[in-house]
């Protein structure tokens, strides 16, 4: 994934690869699509599930590619995989916070990066083995966490959302891969929606720094 001169591009690519696998895993674990439509594969020396449906794969690839282009602009705060119920109410969010990625201007995406650790020593930007191990642990946690969550009703949909940093520019170029949505209101007691957050894992491997957690939106609307 990274050659000897890791660039921001390779950093972003390794994250987006991980994101792809994570999305497939979430879809499998939460049975958004029938579990039989997934085949077993290996990633990071770990058994993972991958959807067999070509359209699903295509959609996920496109979504992740769009996330990647946003990452290159350095505008992304969080990436979220949201599961909606039939009534378009978000049930769960799997959030990956990537705000701690190095801020690299768009023109320097291919410039080799160097990293200075806290003690001034030159650290590795993209330590492959370490990263693989942490990704593996995250996948493990993701796979396990979803069994702790209550099962979601049949017929749910999912999507990928990005939350941009405040100074980021919204991607409004044509063709437009992203749809702007209302920023979700923080817990306002009036709507009666609480959010239960379950941390999954924080990955810190070289310059790959991100955190993962699961948010459950408790909706009292009785539509399950």
């Amino acid at each position: 994934m990274a050659d000897s001169e890791p660039t921001f591009r390779s950093l972003a690519t390794s994250f987006t690869d991980f994101l792809t696998v994570a999305i497939h895993t979430i879809l499998y674990e939460r049975s958004v699509y029938p579990q039989t439509s997934f085949l077993s594969a290996r990633k990071y020396n770990f058994a993972v599930r991958q959807s067999r449906h070509p359209k699903v794969c295509e959609w996920i690839n496109d979504a992740v590619a769009a996330v990647e282009s946003e990452l290159f602009k350095g505008a992304v705060d969080r990436v979220a995989v949201v599961i909606y119920s039939k009534n378009n109410k978000p049930l769960e969010r799997y959030v990956f916070e990537v705000s701690r990625f190095p801020k690299v201007p768009a023109s320097d995406v291919d410039v080799p990066l160097e990293r200075l650790d806290a003690d001034g020593q030159q650290g590795s930007v993209l330590p492959l083995v370490d990263m693989e191990e942490q990704f593996r642990a995250t996948m493990n946690q993701l796979a396990g966490c979803s069994s702790m969550l209550p099962p979601i009703p049949v017929g749910c949909a999912f999507t990928v959302a990005v939350e941009l940093k405040e100074d980021g520019e919204a991607p409004t170029a044509h063709p437009q891969p992203w749809m702007p949505v209302q920023p979700r209101a923080p817990n306002d007691g009036a709507s009666g929606n609480g959010v239960v957050t379950k941390p999954v894992r924080a990955v810190a491997a070289g310059s790959v720094l991100f955190e993962t957690w699961i948010e459950q939106v408790n909706s009292d609307d009785g539509d399950g």
């Binding site: 050659d3 000897s4 792809t20 594969a41 770990f46 493990n140 396990g144």
Partner: protein, 462 residues
């Protein structure tokens, strides 16, 4: 020691939310596996008495089941998994007890005969009674693993075995088996190497995988047959190029061959093999990769997966093991290099293996290792993580000789270089890019993204 296991399990299962299998427990606490199984049972019982459903158990049932064979399915191991899976149970392996009934009857029969099949079943605790009912006779029941919550995907159990292989690779299985209770083949003995003995870690891995595939009798015949083919296949480079089929067998002897050559550099080749295994896993045709993967992971969730892991690692370097020996000798003679050359040649046989698949001609195989080194023998100044200096490299020229074979000649040349650490990894990629010939191009593309595994080959080019 009695208190240790409660503490260990409490920390790992409850706090860290890890899955602990009996094998992992036995290695961690250095106890016999049967004792580990009892520990798992005790812990499960006590914890669920305190707080119900705090710990979930997966059981392993062994016995003879009566199943209806499915006519249209062609089965590689006695019973089509899709038919055998009831709910979330997975059949580990099944070897037919009665050969006549294992052959699927043609669908002209109105009622197919139920077959008696010796089965090993992984069962979630919820399905235990139901699974027991399907058995004719049960020879053993024990807890396979404990986890904090029910497993949705039984394949995550493979992670336990990977941990066992990774964390406890330094133990010599020929001694450890008495302590752990691994099933041992009394005829097994370690080979003596004429040259420097291989480092203990890879040998332990080799021997471990030697033991593991030999272990339970109910292992499917598949790994057994290829493993007996291995010694005969060893001398000839051609069969080795069939990586997917030779993957399980390639573990044993090949491993020693490779690591003998890497005698001086121990950790690097292993680490490289780790990253290489995924790199070279991608060159193997993706569908065939997925199939053996799917088959294996469905049917043998634990032991064979560890064997597969080792096999993958080893076999990727294995096919060029023999050629590597000759090349290494040539290399040493030609270049008079130090162990860095060996290291460098380590990743290259893997790309050489990819080459060997595309072009069976040994002529290509030959020059691949030598030209790969750009390792400096001459001046090297390492400063701030950058290597600078002048060094001698070999430039390859590929010509077509009269038989139509592409022959690559190498010529030494000098260059000054300045590069970042670590050089060996860089050598791998440029070397795969520098390879001439059609095989080189595909190898470059495939080798260019190590760690992809099979999942990315499903997608298009990114």
């Amino acid at each position: 020691m009695a208190q240790d296991y409660t503490e260990y399990l409490a920390v790992n299962v409850l706090n860290e939310k890890q899955i602990v299998s009996y094998r992992l427990l036995s290695r961690a606490l250095k106890v016999h596996v049967n004792l580990a199984k009892q520990m798992l049972y005790e812990f499960h019982r006590k914890q669920n008495a305190k707080t119900p459903s705090s710990v979930h158990a997966t059981y392993l049932l062994t016995g003879i089941r009566r199943v209806l064979p499915d006519p249209p399915q062609s089965n590689g191991n006695g019973a089509a998994p899709s038919q055998e899976t009831d709910g979330d149970d997975t059949i580990m392996q099944s070897s037919p007890v009665l050969p006549s009934s294992s052959i699927p009857q043609p669908s002209t029969e109105s009622t197919p005969e139920p077959a008696l099949i010796r089965s090993i079943l992984l069962v979630k605790q919820e399905h235990l009674d139901q699974a027991k009912a399907t058995f004719d006779t049960i020879s053993s029941t024990h807890i396979y693993s404990l986890e904090p919550h029910a497993l949705t995907d039984v394949q995550v159990l493979t992670e336990c075995n990977r941990k066992v292989a990774a964390d406890y690779a330094s133990e010599d299985p020929l001694e450890a088996w008495k302590q752990y209770g691994t099933i041992q083949n009394p005829n097994v003995k370690r080979r003596k190497r004429g040259t420097a003995p291989p480092p203990p870690a890879p040998v332990a891995k080799t021997a471990e995988t030697k033991v593991k595939p030999a272990a339970p009798t109910t292992k499917p015949s598949e790994p057994q047959k290829p493993s007996s083919k291995t010694p005969s296949a060893k001398p000839t480079p051609e069969p080795e190029s069939k990586k997917p089929t030779s993957k399980p067998p390639a573990t044993k002897r090949q491993n020693s061959d490779i690591f003998k050559s890497f005698a001086k550099s121990t950790s690097k080749p292993k680490q490289k093999n780790d990253s290489q295994s995924s790199a070279s896993a991608s060159p193997a045709p993706a569908p065939t990769e997925d199939e053996p993967m799917a088959d294996f992971s469905e049917d043998e969730a634990d032991d064979d997966d560890a064997a597969m892991l080792e096999a993958e690692k080893a076999s990727d370097s294995a096919p060029t093991g023999k050629s590597k020996k000759e090349r290494a000798a040539e290399l040493a003679a030609m270049m008079d290099q130090e162990d860095e050359e060996m290291e460098d040649a380590a990743p290259t046989p893997t790309t050489g293996a990819e080459e060997a698949e595309e072009e069976p001609s040994n002529a290509i195989d030959k020059p691949v290792p030598p030209p790969q080194e750009e390792e400096p023998k001459e001046t090297v100044i390492v400063e701030n993580g950058r290597r600078r200096g002048r060094r001698r490299i070999t430039i390859k020229k590929t010509v077509k000789d009269e038989e139509g074979y592409l022959v690559t000649k190498e010529e030494p040349a000098w260059e000054s270089f300045s590069e970042d650490e670590p050089p060996p990894k860089k050598a791998r990629l440029p070397s795969s890019n520098a390879n001439a010939g059609g095989g080189g191009k595909t190898a470059a593309k495939k080798g260019g993204k190590p760690g992809q595994g099979n999942i990315m080959s499903f997608f298009g080019k990114k």
